[in-house]
Structure formats: C-alpha cells, structure tokens
C-alpha cells in the first residue's frame, strides 16, 4: 500500500469509528466538554496544580520532580536510572520530545520501546508517523525485514500474526529483566497523584508492573484536577482515537503496596518498589500565559486532527521536522510550543477540519495563524 492508500483508508476508518463510538456511547461528548473546562482550570493555575500534584505523589510514597526544560528532564531521569540497566519504554511522546531514549542509551543502558509500532520505528531507526499509530507508514514487508534482524524465523513471507508473535516473544524477555519501566501519562490527577494510561496491547501494564522501578514522564499539560477528570481524559482520548472501548486502562498511584497483615501499609508488594513522576514544562508554562497559544495545551493527543489535514495526508511525517514527535495540525502548535519552530505553520492552508474533529474544540487554525504571523516577522 502507498502512503496515500494508507492515509485515505485510516482517515475514513477513524471517521466511521468515532461516529459509531459517539452514537453508542453518547456520554463521551459530555465527558469531553467537562474535561475541557477542567483542563482550562489547570492551565489557568499551573503553579497551584503542579504543587498539588507533587504533594499528592509524595503522599503516596512516590517521588515527584519538576523539570524546566528538556536538558533538566533528561538529567533527572538519567540520575534515577544510572548506567548498565535495562529500560523498557511505553510509547511516550514526551520522551521523544526530550530525546530521552538516545540519552539513556548513550549512558550505556539497554533501552527498548514496547509499543509494537514504536518498537518497529525504533528498530528501523525511523521517526513516528502518527502520535497514536507511530508506524502507520510501515508496510508488513518492511516490518518483516526489520524484525528478521532480531528473529531469523521471520521472513518476507511471514504473516502479520507471525511478526506480532515474534515481537511479543522478543519483548517478553526484556520485560522480565527490565530494571526500569518508563511511561508517559494520558492524565495525572492532582488530587490523588495518580497516573492514568490507556492502551490496547498490554505493554504498558507490563512496563508499569514487572520492572521494580516505574518512571512516568509527562508534560504539566497532562495534569487534571481530579481522578475523575483523569479517567475522563483516558476515555475521551481512546474514543476520539477511534479505539473504544480500550482494552486496558492503567492507574498507578505510587509504588506497589499491601496492608494485608494487621492493616499495616507496606511497600513494595508485588509490583514496583519505586514510583517517580517527572513533570516537564518545556514551553508549556509560557504558552499558558499567552492568550493566543494557551488552547494548544488542551490537546489530549488523540491524533484525530492529523486525518483531517490535507498537508499531513500528503506529506506525512515529512511535514514537521524530526525535532518533534508531534506532527499534523496539533504538531504545528506543539513543535512551536516546545521547539520555538514556527516554519511548519507556513504549510497550513486553513482547511479547518482539524477544529471540527477536535474533541477539545481547540481553535487550531487560529493558533496556527498566529504562529504564521510570528514566522513572517522573523
């Protein structure tokens, strides 16, 4: 299949699937509307909610860190992980944003992506094509060739089922020996200090339970006031990504613990003994203080706007450069927000579908117009 065939099919499938989900689960729209209000509350009061989140994490015996920028975030995670460890990554865009995988690898750690798509991107030395489906542009043949390097039983004639099974077997050996699981977060509840993650493969569940140390790294934009809001964000993200109901929802609140003996809370129990939350600013705070940019922070990274965009549908990952894991319309906003790079905005042709399909009702064309204005005055 060509890129054009793939993107046309995937875009139409997403439209049909989201329509079906919203028809069968109409409360999702109310959840999305409420979530928008709750996220605006946090964006307007970042200091308060960052403080509250960090206090909540410490209260449940986790460790919370706040990083101003990419460099500081890498350093914090690097100090926690150290050297000569095995690290399994769940798909995390913030890790891409700060260049964490390469950083840890350069510290002499063995690092593996565990989301299938992200794993394929890693072993092909590629770059994510889509925020939810990173290997969208990879054919089965290309995937087979890449996996063959790790498992010689896979060849050009292998079926997709066989390729997936081979990766599953390979990664299982990594989960077992992993010292650290690094995830992102779909949402972080300020009131409970819980990290909520949604997935279908089961890799996040492995990453957050099998290794004895869990590090969640995410932007401050993922903070929501309450646990209820965190669950809303997870459900809304899954629904608008067109994958609903999700197979797994993972909630992590501190390290594993038990109170089964005389009601005395003891940690660790079976799961990880350490839980670390690393929050990162990297341009988000500045955006929150800019009336023309702050709505970008509402993005829940469902990736739906990509499909509505004519530029993305033609250029794919070639549009926004490889300094940013964020592509498509939201990527134009987020690449500016995190890299101060306004130039991809010049390709925006105000098609406007991005605003129509956005569950958070972000006026993406208006924000991009303002980024264009910035570019034209440089």
């Amino acid at each position: 299949m060509t890129w054009s065939d793939v993107i046309t099919k995937v875009s139409a499938d997403n439209q049909r699937e989201v329509d079906r989900v919203l028809e069968n689960f109409p409360y999702i729209v109310d959840m999305a509307n409420h979530l928008r209000e709750q996220k605006l509350e946090v964006i307007g009061n970042f200091d308060k909610y960052i403080r509250k989140t960090m206090e909540s994490v410490e209260r449940v015996r986790g460790h919370a860190y706040m990083a101003k920028n990419k460099e500081e975030a890498r350093r914090i995670v690097g100090e926690i992980v150290g050297e000569k460890k095995t690290v399994v990554f769940a798909k995390t865009n913030v890790a891409y944003e700060i260049g964490l995988r390469d950083y840890l690898k350069n510290m002499n750690n063995e690092v593996w992506e565990t989301d299938l798509g992200e794993f394929l991107v890693q072993i092909t030395k590629g770059w994510p094509t889509h925020i939810v489906e990173p290997a969208l542009d990879l054919t089965a043949l290309e995937a087979a060739k890449a996996v063959h390097e790790l498992d010689h039983s896979i060849n050009e004639k292998s079926s997709i089922d066989e390729i997936v099974a081979a990766v599953r077997k390979f990664l299982m050996s990594k989960y077992i020996k992993a010292d650290f699981g690094i995830t992102g977060a779909n949402a972080v509840a300020a009131d409970s200090g819980s990290v909520a993650l949604v997935e279908n493969e089961g890799n996040i569940r492995m990453d957050t339970v099998l290794p004895q140390n869990h590090i969640a790294i995410t932007g401050i934009d993922k903070i929501v006031p309450t646990m209820r809001d965190a669950m809303d964000e997870v459900m809304v993200q899954a629904a608008y990504a067109g994958i609903f109901p999700p197979t797994y929802v993972n909630v992590t609140t501190g390290p594993s613990s038990t109170a089964d003996i005389e009601m005395k809370r003891v940690s660790p129990a079976t799961g990880p003994k350490n839980f670390n939350l690393v929050l990162i600013d990297d341009g988000r705070m500045e955006a929150s203080q800019n009336e023309e940019m702050k709505e970008a922070l509402l993005c829940i990274k469902c990736g739906r706007c990509y499909f509505s965009c004519p530029v993305y549908r033609i250029m794919g990952k070639e549009w926004v450069n490889t300094r940013s894991p964020y592509n498509g319309p939201t990527g134009v906003m987020w690449n500016y927000l995190t890299n101060k790079d306004p130039w991809p905005a010049e390709y925006c042709m105000h098609s406007g579908g991005c605003r129509e399909v956005c569950p958070m009702k972000i006026n993406i064309p208006e924000i991009i117009k303002n980024i264009k204005f910035i570019a034209s005055n440089l």
Binding site: S308, P310, W319, E346, Y347, H350, G352, K372, F373, S376
Partner: protein, 300 residues
C-alpha cells in the same frame, strides 16, 4: 519540508504583495479592463449603494497559479530586482478563462438583479480584498490594507457589499473582527432564492464558506433547493473529513498544492465524476484533475 526555501519565499511574497496592494489595490498586475468587461453588455450600473464585489477572484483564479510558479525564481534574485521583475511580469489570463469568468459573473448578476435592479459594480476601479495577506499570516499588513479598503469603499458611497467568492467574504469578515470593517456584506449564496439548477454532483466544500463562515448546511440547502442533486459520504464530504483543494499553499509550495489537489479530486471522484465547487481557486486547483464546475454554472 525545506525551511530555508519557505523562509525566503514568505519574505518575498510579503514585500511584493503588500507593496502592490498598497499602491494598486491588486496583488499582481492584471488587465482591469478585460477583467471588468463582462459587465458592459449587461449595462450594470457603475457604482451604487449596493455593489457586486468580485474582488477580481473569478477573473484571476487561474492567474494565481501562474504567478506561483515564478516565486522560487524570484527567490534567487536580490530584493530590489524582485520587485521590478514582478512589476514587469504581466501574465495574461487565457481567453477561455476570461470568458468563463464573464459567464459566471453575468449569471450571478442576472440572478441578483431580480432582487435589486439597482445593484452596481465598480468595474475597473474595483479593489482586491487582501485575502492573501490574511491567509499568509501578514496580519499587520492585512489590517493596514483593510483600513485603506474600507476608506475606498466609503469614498465610493458603498453601503452594502454582495460577494461572489469565499476568500473575499472571509477577508471582510476578518476585517470586521480586527479593524471594525463597518460596511455590511453578504455572500450571493445567502441572497439567492427561487433559483433553478440541474445535475448530479459531489460538492467540494470551500473551506472558508463551510468551516470558517458557518455555511456548511446553508450552502447545501441552497444547492438542493435549486434541484441539483448532491452525493454525500461523511468520509469524503463531511465537515471534518472533507479537505482543502490545496490552493492556499500554492504561493509557498506549488508542487504540494498540486499534489493535494490531485488527492482531493481523486477522493471526490470516488463518489461522482462531476465535481461542484463554490470558489474560483478551488476550480483552478481541482480542474486539472477532474470535471469541475462552479455552482454559478449550473444555476439560473
């Protein structure tokens, strides 16, 4: 994407476009007599309180693409030579394009005359709306030109404007928001009633009409009331999944613009071979890749 090329091209477009507009009220040289000739046989009143405002869009539709091809060439010249080179570059529209534009504008005028016999037209004095400034993100220049445009219309005694294309309508709408453009305006598609038409088409929405001016449903109702049949599929013509013809990216990357046009035309043709548009730039971009007609070519 090639950032260096884009930086260069955006700078060129900004300086040339703004200079031309502030000096001549048009983005590039056009033959205003030819562009306004359609109105003479109809004896359209010159000026008036209510005017039909073409903004030269139907007349220039194909010319935008012709000028776009030159922008990378200008990028290799020094800045002073760019202005003079573009100034001397008068690309003439093809006679069939001028004839087609004349037919469309005549038809729109004839329909509108039923509701307002005094409807006027500014002929060769007509200015361009400045839409390109806004769409390229040259917001300060857009506001400056908007003030000049409003002053121009007021001096001409214009009290109401009827637009014929989405870019002009959207431009005036944005001037209303940003500088208080105070002359009332309306798209002809929101004025016409009791119009007949025929044919079966897939409708390619103008992004500006349907997703920025809130006309997605209204425009369909207008078309369907004429008797024209529209074939719909939410994955192709839905408000969220229908997408641009590619024209607006032309000044920055004409090749990308063409690739998007082909993709969109292919997408539309899965529903019907006959594509209906409501915008002269959509026509110019999509017509190399399919059979495209404008609404004003199928109604009367």
């Amino acid at each position: 994407m090639n950032e260096e090329n884009i930086k260069k091209q955006v700078g060129i477009i900004k300086s040339v476009l703004y200079k031309n507009l502030m000096e001549n009220y048009v983005p590039f040289q056009i033959d205003r007599d030819i562009a306004s000739r359609w109105a003479k046989p109809l004896n359209v009143p010159r000026g008036g309180k209510t005017i039909l405002y073409t903004s030269f869009m139907y007349q220039m539709g194909s010319l935008f693409k012709s000028y776009e091809k030159y922008i990378p060439t200008f990028g290799s010249l020094g800045s002073s030579r760019i202005i003079s080179s573009i100034g001397s570059k008068l690309i003439r529209a093809k006679s069939e394009d001028i004839q087609r534009a004349g037919k469309i504008l005549s038809n729109i005028y004839n329909i509108l005359r039923r509701y307002d016999p005094d409807l006027g037209y500014l002929y060769e004095d007509e200015p361009y709306s400045g839409a390109l400034l806004y769409e390229m993100g040259f917001l300060e220049e857009f506001n400056n030109y908007g003030r000049k445009l409003m002053e121009f219309f007021k001096k001409k005694g214009v009290e109401r404007i009827i637009t014929v294309d989405p870019h002009t309508t959207n431009s005036l709408n944005n001037m209303k928001k940003s500088i208080g453009f105070s002359i009332p305006f309306v798209s002809y598609l929101n004025v016409i009633q009791d119009v007949r038409g025929e044919g079966k088409f897939v409708f390619h929405d103008s992004c500006l009409y349907s997703r920025f001016l809130g006309m997605y449903n209204d425009i369909r109702a207008t078309i369907k009331n004429t008797g024209v049949v529209l074939v719909e599929d939410p994955t192709v013509t839905g408000i969220g999944n229908g997408f641009c013809c590619g024209a607006p990216v032309g000044p920055v990357d004409s090749r990308l613009s063409d690739r998007i046009a082909q993709s969109r035309a292919d997408n539309l043709k899965t529903l019907n071979e006959n594509i209906l548009v409501a915008c002269p730039l959509c026509y110019a971009n999509l017509s190399p890749f399919g059979h495209v007609v404008d609404i004003a070519e199928v109604i009367s």
